[in-house]
Symmetry: C2
Subunit: 366 residues, 2 copies
Amino acid sequence: MPDFVNLDCPSCSLLGKVMSIKPLNVAVVGATGAVGRETIEVLEERKFPVANLKLLASSRSAGEEISFNGKDIVVDELTEHSFDKVDVALFCAGSGISKKFASHAVDAGAIVIDKTSAFRMDEGVPLIVPEVNADVLNEALESREGSQGLIVSNPNCSTIPLTVVLKPLMEKVGIKRVVVSTYQSVSGAGKEGMSELWEQTKGLYSQQEIEPKVFQHRIAFNCIPHIDDFLDSGYTKEEVKLIEESKKILRDQGLNLTATAVRVPVMSCHSESVNIEFSDACSPDQVREVLQESPGIVVSDEPKDNTYPLNSTTIGTDDTFVGRIRGDETVPHGINLWLVSDNLRKGAALNGVQIAELVAKNLSVQ
Amino acid sequence: MPDFVNLDCPSCSLLGKVMSIKPLNVAVVGATGAVGRETIEVLEERKFPVANLKLLASSRSAGEEISFNGKDIVVDELTEHSFDKVDVALFCAGSGISKKFASHAVDAGAIVIDKTSAFRMDEGVPLIVPEVNADVLNEALESREGSQGLIVSNPNCSTIPLTVVLKPLMEKVGIKRVVVSTYQSVSGAGKEGMSELWEQTKGLYSQQEIEPKVFQHRIAFNCIPHIDDFLDSGYTKEEVKLIEESKKILRDQGLNLTATAVRVPVMSCHSESVNIEFSDACSPDQVREVLQESPGIVVSDEPKDNTYPLNSTTIGTDDTFVGRIRGDETVPHGINLWLVSDNLRKGAALNGVQIAELVAKNLSVQ
């Protein structure tokens, strides 16, 4: 058994078989950013079968060195010709970079795993959460001609944990409507977002006002109900991503899901207050049972011990933590729950690497 | 016209008449706490007709001096005999203090305005938000025998702004169901809560971990979905307060309202993400119009200018700010909105003083 196959890992166990994995040539685009660095760490941690690792970034960051499996790798400048002999390219920079360079990677025959919103809603682009719809990725890989390239999208960091939780409840009980309010950390806006919260907060201790650059307003000790741009409907793109991506991943265009996305002054992990109206009766205990048995979820729900999901206990972990599960009697079959997941890991880097693992396995059996 | 009558003030304009107001003997219980201090400031700011101001606190704080209208007033120790000749007693300490001492104030003939949860849900105790149900207070005052004392309760700080917003929508449109998620500041837990967030955050900059005392977990850069004690239902008392108090204030025991209450690392002002299902059609523009014409509300909703309610712009103000008003198509007549109010002012001190103003006017006409 190759030692990268981790039987505790949902994407490995989803495939349900142990096989000989062919090491792949991997590229990480945006290697020096928050998600890029986390991706490199997760590749190492999960012993991903890397033949060669190419780290790519803008000319500004080229020349930096990043450690991987005990070796320092020099970051190269990203160009149209960076993808020669690359099997899997993890795009961890902005949408603009993905739009400009992903097609070059595909032309070179690479499977692009794109963390940005650039292609998520494009027809024919699989939008994958391994616990939820690995089958969609496998189908897409298998229907390629020869070693054709492919773009696979990684959903938005608030969409991933929500679909991980909704999927089993949708299958086992049926969902009529979902109302979500998010509590999103600044790391969703990258290293710059974290630095702005850190420096701005520090500034308040010395009466130094630090002007917002990353966020629209001061984020230190402030909640901002505005993530990404506004649309004419009054919703933000972040809210629409959460709604539309969830429908695509859960394969239910009729899903009634509404959302309010809010940035809160926490460094990492996104939390969501979720109200669900089921189609059928489902007690809080039954919800706990369904979630406990589902991949990628830890039920953390012991109010009498003050145990429920928190940013501080979720950071650095891989699962979606769910707690505060309780009945809502304002509808026939309602519950409220609270979920937290590490937006840099499951929300971005980890989910991307889990997709890469599915790709590695699929390519090995082809 | 006595200069304390402020025609811009909702409670003054609600009464709709200008009268000669008799100055009252006022006591503030818990004068040295966060809400007590804010109450003293609001009494001064709003030129409340004070004949004599008695400041009361525990023996620990007795002897401190607090400035009021340019004079330093020495804080006295609170005892059973503190309420002699007091007309209005504003209780700003904890529930325990109210339960122990409010009856003594009532026995001495005072109108107790209690900021705590001690008596809020007691039958016969008016639970008052001046913009929403001033009539209930006036009826209770008028049905007293002679100069009998009375307990009037001030609702919870997250309930007040919610009822200010729901009342006009309920009257003009009709409400089927409300789903609320709160983003509550640490000042809801008093000076100690603010100090814990401030010191704990500062500690993180020097790698000093400061153990939580006020909150159940670290509050610095963390969201805690737990305010007040848990009940067997899995809801917290804070959530149940928001639900049950709203029903009492809005005089609708059948109101379908569910809530998740979350503490976030902000110093002051409570925010709420509110999803409302109306009984009849009501567009976002109509909601804006209804709210704009309602007392105590400022509509702050210009997404194209990044204008929506924020803690940082609401602090120190009296109104409930509402923005992010947009249709929710997952139900026949739905909207989402975002509200922010200063929990120390409208959520506590200001609402209490507004009640005292109604009392002062009522006593003047009796």
